[in-house]
Symmetry: C2
Subunit: 541 residues, 2 copies
């Protein structure tokens, strides 16, 4: 028996139509050298219509890929609106990928147009000759005639292209399963793999982001979207903002602690979202340059586990609540949200806040052991997390990768436990876990304990070969400016905090932990630096 | 180009699986003569599985209709969970319909099973011989052998049927467009019409209900669901609660002000939802029996417009915020939510709170005049509201009703304006508006102004024939206990509040405004009482 409900598709076109009319006074505020510039959703709607007409005029009339090579700013928001709403596919190029990866993904996605920020041209122009499917480069913020382009590639100015185009566009009704946007994983192993979001998945994910127990994005919010729009769609914040009329603060290229701190103190965001490394750097900066953080009702941290010491410090020193969320490019990204049950003691609540949070209703989860057997949710048994749901990828674009899927479930590569109540506690990436004498040691747990030491700014733990135990942990430590600490002191600090057999013997002091393109610890690089004998390792008894 | 997202359907089965595992400690608290009884979501999950097995055992193996004839209570919640999740269709019979309407809808929907509360048997048993498709009657809370049933109808006890059934059920993966539940409109004109919700529409609507700017249902909530589960699915609250693990307080048959007041003071709900008449009655009761209402973060009022005087009184006297929402059985029901933009003056904010609120992203709206022309959203021009979206009905079950649809849009029968920002201000039902000398007078606006007088408890305005103006308003007034007021005084009170030509000449004082089965003013009955000459009408100059 069929329902009598209307069969209207979920579409970015409706999201754009809605956000720019009902919430026309909401704003996108972009930071710049000369301070913030503001544009309303109403104005954005007109400019998105102009962009769509302009793209039609240069031949985008189907599902061609329109790429962006941009910071978080209002022009990028216009591309987020216009490209999927007109029926084309938005491909957000990750500016932090290595050159050969960028070439690979532009070729693999067959990008036809790239819209690029002028400030990023030095990274992009050397690659243009290798991106053979690109016909048009549209420059935001610079004179297109200054750009040297290879033959067959036309360079256009963004504002010149929009000028004079009609300010309305009749956004078509599309199949909600059609592609709306795509994003490639940064690919620490093998080639980057493309995830293609649908109008449906983006719509559902936006609703999830606005649910009170998830990111609670609301009309009264001003969301500081630090997480890049080229990284898992800025965790869905641009579309969530359109769905409820929340204003957005976009930092453009100003991702350093000083300008972020200025944005927070002058623009007074109510919420913010970024990876832990951003908050760590900001915290270090705030120690010398304190500001008022009281406008922040919530800070969402994801991408990798947030050190509990950082969560505690932000809460105790600045009254700011950090909420963890777990997700990945493949999961749109919202998979969990770290809001514990009400009515717990402060310590129990904090303990649960240090988990990756609880699964949301649209995401089914299971833990699987090495043999593929499903494990119970007892908070103890460790397995790989597999997930399933309408905003979770079921394949990669033109890339089979059968080892990433298990009977329709996504294998996340994340390893951990699930406690009763659905609290996910990730202990490691499956490739980072340390296998010592048949037992597993979580690199992340060791890092968190080391980082709880007041002299430590950053710590990364990798497994290194050991003749007796197969693998043992090596701790790479970044010490805070102006203080000193020895490996002996740190080992002693860990004693009693971790099981005795887990206490690391090997320590190294480094200037900085290498990071991936998306700001996570790059343990692959750390491992190869160690393998090359380029780390000074102290070995304790 | 297709997306790479998983094609997993939205389904009540997943909602049940999720809510009863991740949020197994959330509760449904049902009121009874001997106080509240509590059952956890975890226990409900087991009982819902038992119910599904029991229904299979009596032949429910496809999309047969399983009807309920029940108050809001935990057994009704079990039916909400089990029936759609197993693939059958839940038909919530509205206990307040007239007998011939109940017969009509049970026959029309071809109900196979009815689950009924013992306390409602006196209403139901006389009708059983007329419900020819029903094979099983399942009684909650009484001995089935006490029930006299017509031949061919087997009477079963709910608990006896569940006892011994397995406590797990492998909820099937269904097509999300399949029917999950159905609800008939109360049908003030013609036969009741059936709206059939899909798994998809219920899922999307539940997400909407949990969005911060809508009903903000969250894990930390205890929602007092006064609005009946047989009336537009209790506004979606049962499924929204499952989606986030909010606890529910169910009043069963205790809908009078005294027990509701006791539920609020002893169980301390954080949110509540009901039609305005419930709040009016509660307000009158509270005057003599004040209680602490401070646990209520939000009270959602819908079904008909809430008198501004009542909103102001609750806010000023009890600190309780009333939020209006507009919807109907045909819209699942959430169409708008009354949360104004931030940063307004208190008076401007209150003024916008008195509208029906703003449309939510999933609902497209337009105003259409008598000639079918679309009107601008200028807050002035009055037309009929038409809506479109994935949780809005596009037809009625086995009933064409072409006059209810306009090129794929639902004609709501509601008349009003839409202001910039999408604020809907309903002035009337299209059939209740008073056409006086070519101009329209809103019966609802007049009612609100009359009800702002301190001596008035209720006021209903209908159009009555007038030889000169075609129609003129007649005001039916219910005066508060222990006070008196004259028609002259009330007319004088209106002077200056409404345009002079709108001032009503005709007044009548009555004991109570007749109500429809769902608690709305029954103006059809008031009109016929007047037409029969059974109202004492005072006619002023």
């Amino acid at each position: 028996m069929k329902s009598t409900m209307q069969d209207t598709p979920l579409s970015i076109g409706q999201l754009v139509r809605f956000g720019t009319s009902i919430h026309s006074s909401a704003e996108v505020i972009t930071w710049s050298e000369s301070g913030p510039t503001t544009v309303t959703f109403g104005e954005l709607g007109k400019r998105a219509a102009q962009l769509a007409h302009a793209l039609r005029s240069i031949g985008i009339d189907g599902d061609q890929r329109v790429a962006t090579f941009m910071w978080n700013n209002s022009a990028h928001m216009e591309a987020y609106m216009a490209v999927p709403a007109m029926g084309a596919v938005l491909h957000t190029l990750n500016i932090r990928l290595f050159p050969e990866q960028l070439t690979y993904i532009a070729e693999h996605a067959e990008d036809r147009v790239i819209i690029a920020d002028a400030s990023l041209l030095p990274l992009l122009t050397p690659l243009l000759p290798t991106m053979t499917t690109v016909r048009h480069l549209i420059i935001v913020g610079a004179d297109p005639s200054d750009v040297q382009a290879p033959e067959g590639l036309e360079v256009l100015g963004y504002e010149e292209l929009l000028a004079g185009q009609p300010e309305e566009f009749d956004w078509p009704e599309l199949d909600e399963h059609d592609a709306a946007a795509m994003c490639y994983t940064s690919g620490t192993t093998g080639d980057p793999k493309g995830v293609v979001y649908s109008h449906r998945s983006i719509w559902l994910h936006s609703m999830q982001a606005c649910m009170t127990d998830a990111m609670a994005v609301a009309q009264s919010d001003k969301v500081l979207a630090i997480v890049p729009m080229f990284h898992a769609m800025s965790w869905g914040l641009p579309y969530a903002a359109l769905m409820v009329g929340a204003s957005l603060i976009m930092p453009d290229k100003f991702l350093q602690p000083a300008p972020l701190s200025e944005m927070i103190s002058t623009l007074r965001p109510t919420a913010a979202a970024a990876v832990p490394t951003i908050w760590q750097a900001l915290y270090a900066h705030l120690g010398e340059h304190p500001i008022d953080l009281s406008s922040l009702r919530d800070v969402v941290v994801g991408g990798s586990a947030c050190p509990p010491s950082l969560m505690r410090a932000f809460h105790e020193e600045y009254g700011v609540h950090i909420t963890q969320a777990w997700g990945m490019t493949e999961t749109s990204p919202l998979g969990t949200s770290g809001r514990p049950d009400a009515g717990l003691s402060p310590e129990d609540e904090f303990d649960l806040r240090c988990t990756q949070g609880r699964f949301v209703a649209g995401v089914r989860a299971r833990l699987v052991d090495d043999a593929g057997k499903e494990l119970p949710w007892d908070g103890t048994q460790v397995g790989e997390l597999e997930v399933r749901g309408p905003w979770i990828t079921g394949s990669y674009y033109r890339n089979d990768a059968p080892d990433k899927f298990d009977d329709g479930w996504l294998r996340t590569g994340d390893v951990g436990t699930i406690a009763p109540g659905g609290y996910l506690r990730l202990t490691d990436r499956s490739k980072d876990i340390i296998k010592s004498g048949g037992e597993w040691i979580s690199s992340v747990e060791l890092e968190n304990h080391v980082m709880a030491h007041p002299a430590v700014r950053e710590a990364a733990v990798i497994g290194v070969p050991d003749p007796k135990w197969d693998e043992r942990p090596l701790v790479a430590v970044v010490v805070r400016d102006g203080v000193t600490v020895s490996a002996e002191e740190l080992k002693e600090f860990l004693d009693g905090r971790v099981a005795h057999w887990q206490l690391p013997e090997r320590w190294t002091f480094i200037e900085e932990v290498p990071k991936t393109s998306v700001g996570k610890y790059d343990k692959k690089r750390l491992r190869s630096t160690h393998a090359d004998g380029r780390l000074d390792v102290i070995e304790l008894a």
